[in-house]
C-alpha cells in the first residue's frame, strides 16, 4: 500500500489521515500553500458575512408589515415586447458561472506553465466579471428608474429596496475587486513575472502560479455566493 508522501510523511485517506495530519508537526494541511490556506479561511469568514446579510434579509422580509413585491414582476425584462421574468438575471448568472469555468481552466494552464493560455483565460474571466458588473449596473439603473430606492419601493415593502441594493451591492463589490485583481494577474502572467521570478510590487516577495489558484478560489466563492443571492432574491 503506497500512499502519497510529503517529506516522509504518509498521507492517509479519510478520518485517519485527518487525525494523523492534525497530530503531526509543522503543517496541518499537508502540502497546502500558505496563501491557499489563507484564502480558504478568509472565505470562511466571508461566508459568515454573507450569511449574516442573508439571514438579516430573511428576518427583515419576514417581519415587515407591508407586503413583499413579487420578484418575477419586479425583475422582468422586456424582450421583443414581451416581459420575460428573470431574463436578465438568467443571463447574468450564465455569464458569471461561465467565467468560473474559464477561471478553472486558467488555473490548470497556470500549473502547466502555459503562460499564454493562462493569460487569455484570465482575461476572459475578467471580461466575464466585467460584463456581470455591467449588467448589474443596468439592473440597478432600471430599478432606480422605476422608483425603487434603498429607502422606498413603489411595489411594496421598503425593505425590498434596502436589502436588494445592499446585498447585491456588497456582492457586486466583491466581483469588482475580483475583476481588478484578474486584470492585474492577467498582466502579471502575460508579462511573465512568475517565470522571471519578479518580486511583488508591494510585498517584495517572489510569486508563483499558485496565486492564480488562490485568485480562482476567491472567484468561485463569489460565484457560489451569487447562487445563494439568486435563490433568495429572485426565486423566493
Amino acid at each position: 500500500m503506497s500512499e502519497p508522501k510529503i517529506d516522509g510523511f504518509e498521507l492517509k485517506p479519510g478520518f485517519k489521515g485527518m487525525a494523523s495530519d492534525t497530530a503531526s508537526d509543522q503543517t496541518m494541511f499537508k502540502g497546502v500553500h500558505w496563501g491557499k490556506a489563507m484564502m480558504w479561511i478568509f472565505l470562511l469568514s466571508d461566508t459568515f458575512v454573507f450569511s449574516c446579510f442573508l439571514i438579516s434579509y430573511m428576518k427583515g422580509r419576514g417581519s415587515t408589515p407591508v407586503e413583499w413585491p413579487n420578484p418575477s414582476e419586479v425583475f422582468a425584462l422586456e424582450a421583443f415586447g414581451v416581459p420575460v421574468p428573470l431574463l436578465l438575471i438568467a443571463l447574468m448568472t450564465f455569464v458569471l458561472i461561465t467565467s468560473s469555468g474559464t477561471m478553472a481552466i486558467a488555473v490548470k494552464y497556470g500549473y502547466e506553465k502555459n503562460r499564454k493560455m493562462c493569460g487569455w483565460l484570465l482575461l476572459a474571466t475578467a471580461l466575464g466579471g466585467l460584463t456581470f458588473v455591467g449588467m448589474q449596473a443596468y439592473e440597478w439603473s432600471k430599478l432606480i428608474h422605476e422608483g425603487v430606492r434603498p429607502w422606498a419601493n413603489p411595489f411594496g415593502a421598503a425593505q425590498f429596496g434596502s436589502f436588494f441594493f445592499m446585498i447585491t451591492g456588497f456582492h457586486g463589490f466583491h466581483v469588482s475587486i475580483g475583476v481588478i485583481f484578474l486584470f492585474i494577474y492577467t498582466y502579471k502572467v502575460f508579462a511573465g513575472h512568475y517565470e522571471k521570478g519578479k518580486k511583488g510590487w508591494f510585498t517584495k516577495l517572489k510569486g508563483d502560479y499558485v496565486e492564480i489558484e488562490i485568485l480562482g478560489l476567491y472567484w468561485h466563492f463569489v460565484d457560489l455566493v451569487w447562487v445563494f443571492i439568486f435563490a433568495f432574491f429572485y426565486l423566493w
Binding site: A23, T27, W34, A37, F42, S51, C52, F53
Partner: protein, 612 residues
C-alpha cells in the same frame, strides 16, 4: 503504517527501558524529527528607518506597535472612567459634565476597553509578538498583510478618536449601540459621532481580518520541525482559538455596522420600526430593532471569549513557569479552550433576556450558558492543581496570576446568577451586571496582561522590570479593584440601575451615596496606580538591570532566540527543532529544574521525562 509511527514506537520502548534504570544501547532514532516540509521563509529585510520602525513587516515590531496603540486607547478609556466616577461619586465637583457627556463617556469607555484595548492588545499585541516566536517561525506568514493590519487598526483608532472632536461629539448610545435610539435625534452624537463609530468598527474588522489570517496560518502551517499542535504553549492555543472566534464573530459586527450606517445615511429601515416623534411619524418603518441585538450579540458574546481565551492561555503558561511545575491536564486545558470557544457561539441571547423573547428561547440560552461553566471550572481547577505542591515563586508575575484566578472565579460565579433567566431579569441593567463583567472580562484579563508584561518585558526590551514597584502596582490594583467592584454587587442588589447619570431623589440613592463615593475614590487610586507601570517601564529602559537570556528559566521557544531581544528572523541561521512540550519543569532526575523544548530525548535519557 508509516516509518514515522515505527520510530515513535522504538522511542517509547527506549524511554520505558530507561525509566527502569537500564543503560542499554541508545537507539539514535529517538532524536529523529521529520525533515522540513516548507523550507525557509523568504523575508524582506528593512532598508530604512521607516521600513524598520514605522511600516515594519517584522511581527515583533508590529506587536509592539499594536501594544502601544492599544495602551494609548486604554489610557483614554481609563480617563473616561475617572470622569464617570467623578460624576457618580461627587456630582458637585463634576459641574462641567452634562448628562449627554456622561452617556458619551459611558459609550466610549465601553467600546474602547472591549474592542480597541483588550482585543487589540491580546491578539494584535501578544499575538504578533509571541506566535512566531513560540511556534518557531521566522515571522508571520504574510508580513506585508500583517503590517497593513496594524495600520488599518491605527486608522480605526484615529477615526474613533476623531469622533471626540466632531460637532455633537462621540456617540452616547451605550457601547451596544442599540437602535432605534442610537441614530435618532436626541441621543448624543447621533450625527457624526455614530457614523465615525461605525466606520471605525468596520475598519477595525477589516484590519483584524488581515491580522487574524496571519495568526491562524502561522500557527497551522508554519510551525517548526517537531512542533505539533499538542506541543504548543497554551498561550498559542488561547490566541489561536480567540482568533478563530474573531474571524467568525466579527462578520456579524461588520454587517450590523453596515446596515446601521445605511439606516443613518440613506434612511433605510433595517433596524428602524415605525416611530412617532413629537406627534409626527418619522420616515422610518417596518424594520426590526431586535435583529440588531441578535447580530450585535452574535458578535458580542464571542467577543468576551476573544478577550478571555488569550488570557486563559497566557496565565496557564505564567503559572506553570513560576510554579516550576508542568501545567496540570494540558490536553484538558486545550480542549477546554476549544470547547469554550465553540460554545460561545450558542449563548448570545443571554444578553437579551429582557428583550421579550420566547421563554423557551431563554431556557435554551440559559442552559448553554451554564454549560460553559463546566470547561471554565475545569480550567480553574487545573490552574490550582498546577500550583498545588509546586515550587511557587511569589514574584510579581505570580502575584498577578493569583490575582487573576481569584478575580476570575469571583466574576464567574456572578455569571451563574446572570445566566439564569429568572435571576437575571431583576438584576438586568443594574450595577450587578457592571460588577460581573468588569470582574470577569475587565479586571481578570487585565491582571493577565500585567503579569504577561512583567514576564515578557525582559524578552522584548532585554531588561528586568523593577520588582518593588511591581508589587506596589499589584497590591494597589488588586485591592483597589475589589474595593471598586465588590460594593457594586451590593448596589445592584438594591436595584441601582446602570448608565444613569444621576439618581435624583430615588430611595436607594440615600443609602448608596456613601458607597458611590467610596467606589469613586478607589477608582481614582487604581487608575493612578496604573501609571506606576508606565513609570516602571520608562525607569527600567533607562537604568534597569540587564536581563539574562532566559531569566525565568522557561522552556518555550521565545526564550531560545539567537539574540535577546530577538532580531528579524528570530532564530539566527537555524530554526529550532522541538522534541517536547514546554512544560517539563522539575523533572525528577534532570540536572536543572527545566528542560527546554529543544532538548533532544537522548540528552535527558536518565530522567523520568514523559513523552509528549
Amino acid at each position: 503504517m508509516s516509518d514515522e509511527y515505527d520510530n515513535n514506537k522504538s522511542y517509547q520502548a527506549q524511554s520505558s527501558e530507561v525509566m527502569d534504570g537500564s543503560t542499554g544501547s541508545v537507539n539514535p532514532d529517538i532524536d529523529y524529527v521529520r525533515p522540513s516540509e516548507v523550507g525557509e521563509q523568504e523575508l524582506y529585510h528593512p532598508h530604512s528607518f521607516i521600513e524598520k520602525w514605522v511600516f515594519c513587516q517584522d511581527a515583533k515590531v508590529i506587536g509592539v506597535q499594536y501594544f502601544l496603540t492599544a495602551v494609548f486607547t486604554g489610557v483614554v478609556g481609563l480617563i473616561l472612567s475617572w470622569l464617570m466616577r467623578l460624576q457618580l461619586g461627587f456630582p458637585e465637583l463634576a459641574g462641567f459634565m452634562t448628562a449627554e457627556h456622561y452617556y458619551q463617556f459611558v459609550t466610549m469607555h465601553g467600546m474602547i476597553m472591549v474592542v480597541y484595548f483588550l482585543t487589540a492588545l491580546f491578539l494584535g499585541g501578544f499575538g504578533n509578538y509571541l506566535i512566531p516566536l513560540m511556534v518557531g517561525a521566522r515571522d508571520m506568514v504574510f508580513p506585508y498583510v500583517n503590517m497593513l493590519s496594524f495600520w488599518m487598526f491605527f486608522v480605526a483608532v484615529a477615526v474613533l478618536m476623531a469622533s471626540f472632536f466632531v460637532p455633537g461629539g462621540p456617540t452616547g448610545a451605550g457601547w451596544t449601540l442599540y437602535p432605534p435610539q442610537t441614530i435618532l435625534e436626541g441621543t448624543p452624537g447621533a450625527g457624526m459621532g455614530i457614523l465615525l463609530m461605525l466606520i471605525s468598527l468596520s475598519l477595525f474588522v477589516i484590519g483584524f481580518t488581515m491580522g487574524g489570517l496571519n495568526y491562524m496560518i502561522t500557527i497551522l502551517q508554519a510551525r517548526t520541525r517537531g512542533m505539533t499542535l499538542m506541543r504548543m504553549p497554551l498561550t498559542v492555543w488561547g490566541i489561536f482559538t480567540a482568533t478563530v472566534l474573531a474571524m467568525l464573530a466579527f462578520p456579524a459586527l461588520l454587517v450590523s455596522a453596515i446596515m446601521m450606517t445605511l439606516d443613518k445615511v440613506l434612511q433605510t429601515s433595517f433596524f428602524m420600526p415605525t416611530i412617532l416623534k413629537a406627534g409626527e411619524v418619522l420616515e422610518y418603518g417596518g424594520g426590526s430593532p431586535i435583529l440588531f441585538q441578535h447580530l450585535f450579540w452574535f458578535f458580542g458574546h464571542p467577543e468576551v471569549y476573544i478577550v478571555a481565551l488569550p488570557a486563559f492561555g497566557i496565565v496557564s503558561d505564567l503559572i506553570s513557569v513560576h510554579a516550576r511545575k508542568n501545567i496540570f491536564g494540558y490536553r484538558m486545558m486545550v480542549w477546554a479552550i476549544v470547547g469554550i470557544g465553540a460554545l460561545s457561539f450558542f449563548v448570545w441571547a443571554h444578553h437579551m433576556y429582557v428583550s421579550g423573547m420566547n421563554p423557551w428561547f431563554g431556557f435554551f440560552f440559559a442552559t448553554t450558558t451554564l454549560i460553559i461553566a463546566v470547561p471554565t471550572a475545569m480550567k480553574v481547577y487545573n490552574w490550582i492543581l498546577t500550583l498545588w505542591r509546586g515550587n511557587i515563586r511569589i514574584n510579581v508575575v505570580m502575584l498577578w496570576c493569583l490575582g487573576f484566578i481569584v478575580t476570575f472565579v469571583n466574576g464567574g460565579i456572578t455569571g451563574i446568577f446572570l445566566g439564569n433567566v429568572s435571576v437575571d431579569v431583576p438584576l438586568s441593567d443594574t450595577y450587578f451586571v457592571i460588577a460581573h463583567f468588569h470582574m470577569v472580562m475587565g479586571i481578570a484579563p487585565l491582571m493577565v496582561i500585567m503579569g504577561a508584561v512583567y514576564h515578557w518585558f525582559p524578552l522584548v526590551a532585554g531588561k528586568m522590570l523593577d520588582e518593588g514597584l511591581g508589587k506596589w502596582h499589584f497590591w494597589i490594583t488588586f485591592l483597589g479593584a475589589y474595593s471598586i467592584y465588590f460594593p457594586m454587587h451590593y448596589l445592584g442588589f438594591i436595584g441601582v440601575p446602570r448608565r444613569y447619570f444621576e439618581m435624583y431623589d430615588s430611595p436607594y440613592m440615600t443609602s448608596a451615596v456613601g458607597m458611590n463615593e467610596f467606589i469613586s475614590i478607589a477608582a481614582f487610586i487604581v487608575g493612578a496606580a496604573q501609571f506606576i507601570l508606565i513609570f516602571n517601564i520608562i525607569k527600567t529602559l533607562k537604568t534597569g538591570k540587564k536581563a539574562e537570556q532566559n531569566p525565568w528559566k522557561a522552556n518555550s521557544l521565545e526564550w531560545y532566540t539567537s539574540t535577546v531581544p530577538p532580531e528579524h528572523g528570530n532564530f539566527g541561521d537555524r530554526l529550532p527543532v522541538v522534541h517536547r512540550w514546554p512544560y517539563d519543569f522539575s523533572v525528577p532526575g534532570a540536572k536543572e529544574d527545566y528542560i527546554p523544548q529543544t532538548t533532544a530525548p537522548s540528552e535527558v535519557i536518565h530522567t523520568e521525562v514523559e513523552k509528549t
